[in-house]
Symmetry: C2
Subunit: 319 residues, 2 copies
């Protein structure tokens, strides 16, 4: 069985590719090849990956590229390629091309391939917005307040229709914000949620653009990768193919307090509180917590709490 | 002010074009030109239309055509072009190209034009589906059960995001099924709802593919055209830009009974009841009635009942 991973050079994509190569099997079948789609080949180092790792370098919105990588041997597609929230909001054309056209054309390539591949689509809490009920669950209406959320909701609609018609077997996983995300800041509106932990621990000042009482919904990189892979194997047992993944609910103030306790007040003091109305407006439309009972019943993994997310990062940086 | 009408050669499109040319003004401004977009020029005969009627012949999904017709002088766009429900379900590629790509590219052309035109989008009850609440209203979640409904829901999401960003001033009008629609049957799943009245009155047998107890939601051609034009002028007073237009709720059995009473039993007996599971499956996901309070408050017009729809058709055919 071949697997296709889009956005494979991104942080989560590369981790998913590595995890798949290490496992060697998925859905009870041996993995013959992992075909990566991105503008560059991913930096993945797994012993013995060899010819099983096949980079396809190009544009996710290029139908010819997609037809070349998705074929009858494709058993599973992980669709992670996306223009992130902050960038999709300001660069409207790029966001629409990658997030709408790219997703639509990938699903069309799956339809043409005719093998009904499992498609794991990385969706987002940004599909929600407006006046939310006290508990957001898998039947809460999608009512996005951002361009990124609009584009992810469109992806979910396309995925559901292609699933209904038997073109794919789709699963849309609404990921919490990943924290602590390694590497450099990106143009996601949520990027600061890793920055306010990662940068101070590296001795670098960081700006928090929302007030301390802002509640957020986070998952560790480890559980995000494990849950994306699990997304290919779970049975959602319904025609509702969108599922809210488990997360931990914490306020930004509590995050910085935990940082002070774990690494010392002088580290936490590197966080400057400088409200940015544009970021705040986007972040406050995201649910701070969702009902995860369906996700847990399906077998997705939950982090224990923010303390564990912080501890995992401290271990990762050898501190 | 210039007006653009897509799908202008279709039945509703040509009627909207004619109504605009007869009015001569919209939103308090004189109409300089009505630019029609369709694969053929519309057959519109209005005295004195002359140079005000400007046909643009081409493909709704062609960005160059759209950039050529939408410009700084465009004050209002009526977006009626669509592949209908039955056809979008079976010809997946054509439906996606016209209904998704066409709508997305039209909105992009409006964004590039920079004049924030009012966009009146013909949406559909097909955006609903699954388990519906007893009363469908303007906040009922969009959960389409057909490819056409999926594509209309995507159009509504794009329209809402472009409205939020100030690229357009959008209004998505969810039209009831038009009855009695003149002309030939088309590939909409709802086409039979006009056929079972129109064909027998012309002495031609007609097939009804759903059981007599099936409840449907209808509007006359006259109120549909009037409400599309009104859509450019109403104030929806909210960021919810999708609105369910008024209709009349009637069962298919009652429709044929009314036909028998108005035109004689020998006419009604030309209707053959031959259930078609494919059509029935689509029709039964549509709400048979919606809460119209918001639409009526905004100034949209309601038909009085099915008797009036039938009487209007009888007048039209001179009977």
């Amino acid at each position: 069985m071949d697997i296709v991973v889009t956005g494979a050079a991104g942080f989560l994509g590369a981790e998913v590719v590595a995890a798949l190569l290490r496992r060697g099997e998925l859905r009870g079948q041996e993995i013959s090849r992992v075909v990566t789609v991105d503008r560059v080949a991913p930096a993945v180092e797994v012993d013995g990956a060899g010819p099983r790792l096949v980079p396809a370098v190009g544009d996710i919105a290029d139908p010819d590229l997609l037809d070349a990588v998705v074929d009858q041997d494709t058993g599973v597609v992980f669709h992670l390629a996306a223009v992130v929230s902050g960038q999709a909001e300001v660069d409207h054309e790029l966001g629409a091309r990658v997030n709408v056209d790219g997703t639509r054309r990938l699903l069309e390539a799956c339809r043409r391939a005719g093998s009904t591949p499992v498609v794991v689509f990385a969706s987002s809490l940004a599909v929600y917005g407006g006046e939310l009920p006290p508990v957001v669950d898998d039947v809460t209406p999608l009512w996005p307040s951002s361009t990124y959320g609009t584009q992810k909701a469109i992806g979910e609609l396309l995925l559901a229709d292609h699933t209904r018609k038997g073109f794919v077997d789709g699963r849309a996983l609404r990921l919490p914000t990943i924290c602590v995300r390694p590497g450099a800041p990106n143009r996601a509106a949520s990027s600061f949620l890793s920055g306010i932990i990662r940068e101070p621990l590296a001795g670098v000042p960081a700006v928090c653009p929302v007030p301390p009482e802002t509640q957020v919904w986070l998952a560790s990189p480890e559980s995000a990768v494990a849950n994306l892979v699990a997304g290919a194997e779970v049975d959602l047992g319904s025609d509702r193919r969108g599922v809210n993944l488990p997360g931990v609910s914490v306020s930004v103030g509590e995050m910085v307090q935990a940082l002070a306790e774990a690494a010392g007040p002088e580290v936490a003091e590197l966080v400057r509180w400088e409200p940015d109305p544009a970021v705040d407006a986007i972040v406050r439309t995201w649910p701070a917590r969702t009902d995860i009972s369906r996700a847990v019943a399906a077998g997705f993994r939950a982090d224990a709490g923010f303390g564990d997310l912080l501890a995992a990062h401290l271990r990762r940086i050898g501190r």
